[in-house]
């Protein structure tokens, strides 16, 4: 680990990985003169049988070149580990509670580990004021199933750099839903690699960027073994002056990964002038022996035909707009499959809509 930290160099902004990010707004998270506080900021309450949560000294499960993640690894001595034992099926979602230091640059590291044939849902609700760099690694044993929900409902000044890396075992399934509505700057890296054949990853997310917010999501799916599947579906809405979003979808199908089935999609809805959405899908294919590979990216204005249709049924324009925007997000939010969380997310989206109603 020390060799990694000595390699750390703060990005200049010219690097491909950082070229969209306003580096001046990172609150010191990448400033080598600042030591990040080691923050065990996640706690688990009421753990069901077969589930444990502890602090351990553990080497990272994956390699990374991401500067923020390297900083986390250097700063954190003991990693929080949530483990689900072999064959344990946890029916109720496991909520991890976030406690942050309130503006001091901090680093948090979590490993979620599912033994073979375990099954669980893990929810992290990020609220409050924070300047935080975070790494979460997911290790999915063969035949395991993990549904992961991370919602960023931060206060307006929060800076959040995060890496969510899943290592998906044989015939295992990883389903993640990322919801980013709060924060000044949020940059998340949902990434996936496979450690066995037949693995499946579903990465979905929604974001709603309003004036001055920078919300960035950078997928990387590494199809490194045969017969695995991935689906990426991110949707965002933007409203207000200098509302920014960045979506990068890198999918890499290696020569060995025959039988890969992948599709990624990003849709952005621009609700006002002055907002900007960058959307960059990128598919790199080293073998033609695949089931399918595709991507689509659209960024557009509100669909006037949809508005006309709803209005022609008597629905006032403002309600019609809201119906369409809620519908736009509902496709993904309904995939969370936890009613209380879905309601909370839609309520938060409603609040965003209220705030931009006059735009």
């Amino acid at each position: 680990m020390s060799s990694l930290t000595t390699n750390y160099l703060a990005p200049s902004g010219r690097e491909e990985a950082w070229r969209f990010t306003p580096l001046s707004r990172l609150g010191g998270l990448l400033d080598s003169a600042i030591t990040l506080a080691d923050s065990p900021s996640l706690t688990a309450l009421d753990l069901p049988q077969g589930v444990s949560f502890s602090k351990i000294a553990t080497a990272p499960l994956s390699q990374t070149t991401d500067e923020a993640t390297l900083r986390v690894r250097a700063a954190v001595a003991l990693t929080s580990e949530l483990s689900i034992a072999s064959g344990v099926e946890v029916s109720e979602p496991i909520f991890l509670k976030r406690t942050v230091k309130g503006g001091v640059p901090e680093a948090s590291r979590l490993v979620v580990s599912l033994a073979p044939n375990a099954r669980a849902t893990v929810v992290i609700e990020n609220v409050g004021t924070a300047v935080i760099a975070e790494e979460i690694e997911f290790s999915l044993g063969s035949g395991s199933h993990l549904r992961f929900i991370s919602s960023q409902e931060w206060d307006a000044t929060t800076v959040h750099l995060g890496s969510h890396h899943a290592i998906i075992g044989k015939d295992a399934e990883f389903i993640s839903t990322v919801v980013t509505v709060g924060g000044s700057l949020v940059r998340l890296l949902p990434t996936v690699e496979y450690s066995g054949t037949g693995g499946s990853a579903e990465l979905s997310g929604v974001y709603f960027s309003t004036s001055g917010q920078h919300l960035e999501h950078r997928m990387h799916v590494d199809h490194n073994v045969p017969n695995c599947k991935s689906r990426v579906n991110y949707k965002g809405a933007l409203a207000g002056e200098n509302a920014r979003s960045v979506w990068i979808g890198d999918v890499f199908i290696r020569a060995a990964a025959e039988g890969t089935d992948t599709y990624e999609l990003n849709r952005n809805l621009l609700l006002s002038d002055g907002a900007r959405a960058d959307s960059v899908p990128n598919l790199e294919i080293e073998t033609g022996e695949i089931v399918g590979a595709g991507h689509a990216s659209t960024t557009g204005r509100f669909d006037d035909e949809q508005l006309f249709y709803l209005q022609s049924r008597g629905i006032p324009a403002e309600i019609a707009r809201r119906l369409v925007i809620r519908g736009f997000f509902a496709e993904i939010v309904s995939g969370v499959r936890i009613e209380s969380v879905e309601e909370r997310i839609m309520a938060r989206i409603d609040a965003e809509l209220d705030a931009v109603a006059n735009i």
Partner: protein, 250 residues
């Protein structure tokens, strides 16, 4: 008794070459309970008439008037027109992803009726209306028009007609893309609404086929942006036999 009155309606649409006049002075009066068939060749402006009355932003009214019981329809927003009692069944109903049919119907009914329908009676009302149109109950959970077949879209339009109970319905080529069975189901749906209310109908069609199921009181031949001949149901028989050739001058 209500009256929808269209007087000397002139409508243009913006194209790359500037404004093109499509409707060149349309006069038509429809009273409650009457069914008027508007028949004409493709490109004659029939759909423009329908969308202009509904208030589609693509069309610019350059002259004339549309009134509903004396109220200026052209001065109303699209949703105000619907709440005033106008309904347009579209030729190409729009997909609205993420909005379920059930949510959409309830939101529309709430807007039109001025209050949310009572849940218990509403659910039964929707179920019955759907079964009358041979629509499976799973329909309600699907997103509005998304992935619907042509026939399903048209049934969904007529379902709304029955639930929203307008004073006047404009049916824009509701027969297009329907096989005989679907045409019959959709037509019976329109006839049920007519029988149970005082609905006035403007039935826009290219073909006489639908007129076997929905009987018009009046037939108007539409060509080059205006009504060029008017008569009773017998006029449709003449069109069936001779087509539109005599009305189209090149």
């Amino acid at each position: 008794m209500s009256t929808l009155e269209i007087k000397n309606l002139q409508v243009s649409v913006a194209t790359e070459a500037g404004f093109t006049e499509i409707l060149k002075g349309v006069d038509l009066t429809i009273k409650s309970g009457e069914t008027h068939a508007i028949m004409g060749p493709n490109g004659s402006g029939k759909s423009t008439l329908a969308y202009s009355i509904a208030g589609h932003p693509k069309y610019t009214i350059t002259g004339g008037s549309v009134t509903l019981d004396g109220a200026d329809v052209l001065d109303m927003t699209v949703d105000e027109r619907a709440r005033a009692g106008l309904f347009l069944a579209m030729q190409y109903p729009v997909e609205v992803p993420g909005v379920s049919v059930t949510n959409f119907l309830r939101t529309a009914a709430t807007a039109i009726r001025g209050e949310a329908p009572k849940i218990r009676t509403w659910v039964g009302e929707v179920k019955e209306a759907m079964s009358e149109l041979n629509m499976d109950t799973s329909f309600a959970e699907r997103n509005v028009n998304e992935g619907f077949s042509g026939g399903e879209k048209k049934r969904h339009e007529i379902l709304q007609l029955g639930l929203l109970k307008p004073k006047f319905a404009i049916l824009d080529e509701t027969d297009s893309g329907l096989d005989v069975d679907a045409l019959k189901i959709v037509s019976e749906g329109v006839n049920r609404v007519k029988a149970s209310s005082d609905l006035g109908v403007m039935l826009i069609t290219h073909y006489t086929r639908i007129l076997r199921y929905i009987k018009p009181d009046f037939v108007h031949v539409f060509a080059a942006g205006r009504i060029v001949e008017e008569g009773g149901p017998e006029l449709a028989d003449k069109l069936e036999e001779k087509g539109y050739a005599e009305y189209v001058t090149n």
